[in-house]
Amino acid sequence: MYTVPKLEGYSPEALDRAVAEMFSALDSETAALQSEAEWKVLRDRWLARKNGVLTQINDVWLKAAPGPAKREVGRRVNELKARAEAAIEEAHSKIHASSAGALLAAERLDISLPGIHRPIGVKHPVLRVMDEIVAVFKAMGYSVGEGPEVETDYYNFESLNFPPNHPARDTQDTLLIAGQEHKPSRDRLLLRTHTSPVQIRTMEKQPPPLRIVIPGKVHRNDPLDATHSPIFHQVEGLAVDTNITFCDLKGTLDHAMKALFGPAVKTRFYPSFFPFTEPSADMQVSCIFCGGKGCRKCKNSGWIELLGCGMVDPNVFEFVKDNGYDSSKVSGFAFGMGVERIAMLKYEVEGIQLFYEGDVRFLEQFA
């Protein structure tokens, strides 16, 4: 271990020798370091303010130097201090790198093991699709409307131009609430068979212009199997203003389908029949699987039937005439689509009942 000698003389040679001896000693001490702890001891012995080697050199060499030599000794001591500090710092870097490396090596994990999952829940595929549809229409300036699932005959049928005892009612397979026989037929409760009653409910509350999209659950008297369900979901739309035309209906739905299924999708329209629209239409989209070339999904037709729509029948406006819906002044269009059907197509789900069983093996595929 190095101890600070008294200087043998103040000649440049004597000073050179003393400095070289000191560095030779420091080099051999740093070379012998094994750990960061040893380095700390070394650092403290050399650099401590109180009685550290460099402080001693200051005392023994500089303070003891006679007047004329002080200047030269002082220069040498300053230079030496800077060099020694740098050498000690360098020694630290070396020892730290090797010891930390060993520690990190010991801490190594098998990063190929599976991660620890804290799974988030999964949106129901039907509601996920419903949200997507609603978002498309919201972006087009539609407000969202809603209404009750248990409805009166008036809202579900009569005000939508389904007269009592009309064959069109047969197609609806309506579930009725019990104990209603004592009421007038229009007040009797039933489970809404479509979201269309919300059209009338909204028009009763809000005068034209109007643009709403109505997501909701509907019911039919159909036992649950692969192709039928007593419950399903619809998204209904209604736009009424002084200038709405059949061309606008087509353009709006064409735009919405492109937003939902991609810009390449095409639409086409066929005459159809719904009591509450006139003219009525069925809309098809070019097959979203084969692009219209024809595949199993579209039964080789290249087209998939997606929704029913039409211009609001003047008879419907008649029921809300007092709220500004005069069919000689305003016109409108309405459309409605089955959400399950779209979800089944989109995700290639083979049976509608899968949506209502709550099987997490099914649901978690839609993450």
Binding site: N165, A168, L191, T245, G251, Y270, F273, E278, P279, E357
Partner: protein, 741 residues
């Protein structure tokens, strides 16, 4: 309905091939669902909308083709020996008939229509001396292609005619009709009619029947009678070609549970004008195939005339509703081809009168050049208004030939008030790891009653705290379905829990043992004469929160996971107070369930499903369920985040180890400390709980961890010591024994 294109081509010249024709018809709303080849012939399977009964036959479809291609439609002109009368000539009218009774003028075979409402017109012919036998091959083959079996030449003639012209007719064995007359009347109480299907039908006074002098012989517009049907012995045939009231036929078909080709057409509105032609056509077919001769002239009893509507059509309305102009020539051409009589009102000497069926009154009728007066043909009962004419024009023009445009619009988008709350609830449940589910809205009456009590209007107030037992909750009245799918679906759900429990069970039965599900939806109850529906959230969990892995042991889902998740959810809503107590419905485990009360109102029940309920449903592991009354929760606004400055001064921590009797709940400990009102006490939580021999039975030890901090300064040791002493004193008052500090 099936259509044979070769048959169509007998009436109209169509250049397109069968496939192209199918597409063109479909584009015009006469939907061909599939095109098949059978025995060398093309056959269309049609999918017609309910309003287009007029197109449920070959002549009707041919008429559509004539409009689509703008080509001539040939007339159907039956050739009958010695007949020159045009079948489309005005019907013979009875002269001053007795009130309510219509008698045909031709008294050779009197026809009495006693019920003009039910039967507007009854046309008949008699063919004598026929030889009943097989039909000619052409007819047999065509009927076969259409999917019906050949019976005999007379029955086949009516069947062929209905497929050709669309009008239902019936053939009686004339010699089995007693009294030489036909009477159309309501049935009498107690009358019975055996119909062609061999069923004896008890008739009611609402049934409209065809009767002879003594008995009913047919259910009008629905089915003929068994005892008067054509057989091999039949010599003389009476052909019926009538028009029956749609509502009358519909209610009869419903009442007797029969749906026939005839009833289907009458219900939807048959062609009032075609009865003579259809009658003649059947007569012609019978004469051709069964020989014989016409006995008397055609008998045509008319009880009432059906008005033929005349509708004004304005060019301006075409533009306003459809968005484009359709030329005058094209308007006229399309409508005429479809059988409408069109007159340009500008050319007419008198303005068209607003007919009773018009949707508009005269005041709104604005006459301009290019306006039309359109008379509706007798077969189009679905066309009553100007807008109906617009649809005719649009479909012949071709829906896909209209340009796609977007409407201009200026109005604000309005969000539903609950939308952000619904989104918050769903988002929170998803983030907490619950999968979203949808269950069927119906439950059994038993479940509706068992689970329906927890949220009825009367239980809205908080119950007596700390009573510990199960709460007696006024039951809500389930809303029953009149025509349920089955007993398990007898009522509208009164709670989301039965559905969720079923879904958990479904998963467990399929070997999925770790399940977390939620559903947000409506629940229902009967309320007086009406009903009430409100939004609830249900969630359920069972099994492990995280499964055993190389990293850690399995972590079972417990009551406290459910409580934490619920607290997470409730924290999203602004409130003054939130407390939990053990007042829960009886389907919960009495010791592992709680009620959440927010600002004095119950907002949720949650906890372990009662083991008895679980056993009854064969659930072999603990199942946790929760139901949140969203309608109540939504009365609270969503919590707005509020920023509080983070203290710059250090926090001081203190631990207290106490032993308490089991009866002292953490809530009591917490309240006792809260009552001290120590402003600097930032948190006070239990860190460890121990029960066992070391503390003795009926007691537990708890390590309580307190944290003090000030916004303004560094706390002094002496003040922390003083607060600690206060805490200790308050807990000792609860009977706690301090073991270490």
């Amino acid at each position: 309905v099936r259509i044979i294109p070769a048959w169509l081509r007998e009436f109209v010249h169509i250049a397109a091939d069968d496939r192209q024709l199918a597409e063109d018809l479909t584009s015009a709303g006469i939907a061909v669902e599939s095109v098949q080849e059978e025995h060398g012939s093309t056959v269309y399977e049609m999918d017609l909308t309910t309003n287009r009964v007029d197109a449920m036959n070959h002549y009707g479809v041919a008429r559509e083709a004539s409009a689509i291609y703008d080509v001539e439609l040939k007339k159907v002109e039956p050739k009958l020996p010695g007949e020159t009368a045009d079948p489309s000539a005005p019907a013979a009218k009875s002269t001053s008939p007795p009130v309510g009774i219509t008698v045909s003028e031709r008294d050779a075979f009197p026809i009495l229509i006693e019920d003009a409402q039910g039967c507007a017109r009854y046309t008949a012919r008699i063919v004598g001396n026929v030889k009943i036998g097989p039909s000619p091959e052409k007819i047999v083959k065509r009927l076969e292609l259409l999917g019906s079996r050949s019976i005999n030449n007379a029955a086949d003639a009516t069947n062929y005619a209905i497929n050709e012209l669309g009008h239902p007719t019936h053939a009686f064995d004339l010699d089995l009709l007693e009294g030489g007359t036909i009477i159309v009347r309501r049935a009498r109480e107690g009358e019975v009619l055996k119909t062609l299907d061999g069923v004896d039908r008890k008739l009611t006074t609402e049934d409209l029947v065809i009767a002879d002098a003594k008995k009913p012989v047919a259910l009008a517009g629905v089915m003929g009678g068994f005892d008067t049907m054509i057989t091999e012995r039949t010599k003389n045939v009476l052909i019926e070609s009538a028009w029956f009231d749609p509502a009358t036929v519909r209610s009869m078909a419903k009442r007797h549970g029969v749906h026939t080709d005839a009833s289907h057409r009458f219900e939807r509105g048959a062609d009032y004008g075609i009865t003579p032609l259809a009658c003649d056509r059947v007569a012609e077919l019978i004469l051709q195939s069964a020989g014989g001769e016409l006995r008397v002239e055609r008998i045509d009893a008319v009880a009432r005339e059906l008005p033929r509507l005349t509708i004004p059509l304005r060019q301006s309305e075409i533009k306003r509703n459809l968005g484009i102009d359709i030329g005058e020539g094209e308007v006229e051409r399309s409508l005429r081809r479809l059988g409408f009589a069109v007159r340009r009102t500008a050319d007419a000497s008198t303005p068209p009168s607003a007919s009773s069926g018009s949707a508009r009154d005269d005041n709104s009728y604005e006459r301009t050049d290019g306006d039309f007066s359109v008379q509706v043909p007798t077969w189009r009962l679905d066309v009553e208004r100007e807008i109906d004419l617009l649809e005719e024009l649009a479909r012949i023009y071709g829906y896909n030939n209209f340009p796609n445009t977007l409407p201009g619009f200026s109005d604000a988008v309005v969000e539903l008030p609950d939308e952000p709350k619904n989104a918050k609830v769903r988002g929170t449940m998803l983030a907490l790891g619950y999968d979203e589910a949808i269950s069927i809205t119906f439950i059994s009456e038993e479940d509706a009653r068992a689970f329906g009590g927890s949220h009825s209007t009367k239980s809205a107030l908080s119950g007596t705290p700390e009573s510990g037992g199960s709460l007696s909750i006024p039951a809500c009245e389930p809303l029953p379905v009149a025509n349920p799918l089955n007993d398990e679906s007898a009522c509208m759900r009164t709670s989301l829990l039965p559905g969720l429990i079923n879904m958990v069970s479904y998963n467990l039965n399929r070997g999925t043992t770790n399940v977390r599900l939620f559903e947000a939806g409506e629940i229902f109850q009967k309320l007086g004469d009406g009903h009430d529906e409100r939004r609830h959230l249900g969630f359920a969990a069972t099994g492990h929160l995280t499964s055993k892995s190389v990293h850690s042991a399995a972590l079972p889902y417990t009551f406290f996971h459910m409580k934490g998740d619920l607290e997470e959810l409730l924290a999203a809503f602004q409130h003054q107070s939130l407390s939990f107590d053990a007042n829960v419905p009886e389907y919960f485990h009495p010791g592992r369930a709680a009620r959440a009360v927010m600002d004095g109102e119950t907002v949720a029940y949650f906890g372990q499903l009662h083991p008895d309920h679980a056993a009854a449903r064969k659930l072999r592991q603990e199942v946790y369920i929760a139901e949140v009354m969203l309608d109540r929760l939504y009365r609270h606004p969503l919590r707005e985040p509020r920023y509080r400055r983070i203290s710059k001064f250090p926090a001081v921590e203190r631990d207290f180890s106490f032993v308490f009797d089991d009866g002292v709940t953490f809530e009591r400990i917490q309240s006792a400390v809260a009552e001290l009102g120590l402003a600097e006490l930032q948190s006070f939580v239990p860190a460890e709980i121990y029960r066992g021999e070391k503390v003795g039975a009926g007691k537990y030890s708890v390590l309580l961890h307190a944290e003090f901090q000030s916004q303004e300064r560094t706390l002094r040791d002496d003040e922390v010591a003083q607060w600690s002493a206060q805490i200790i004193a308050s807990l000792e008052k609860l009977g706690g024994v301090l073991r270490a500090q």
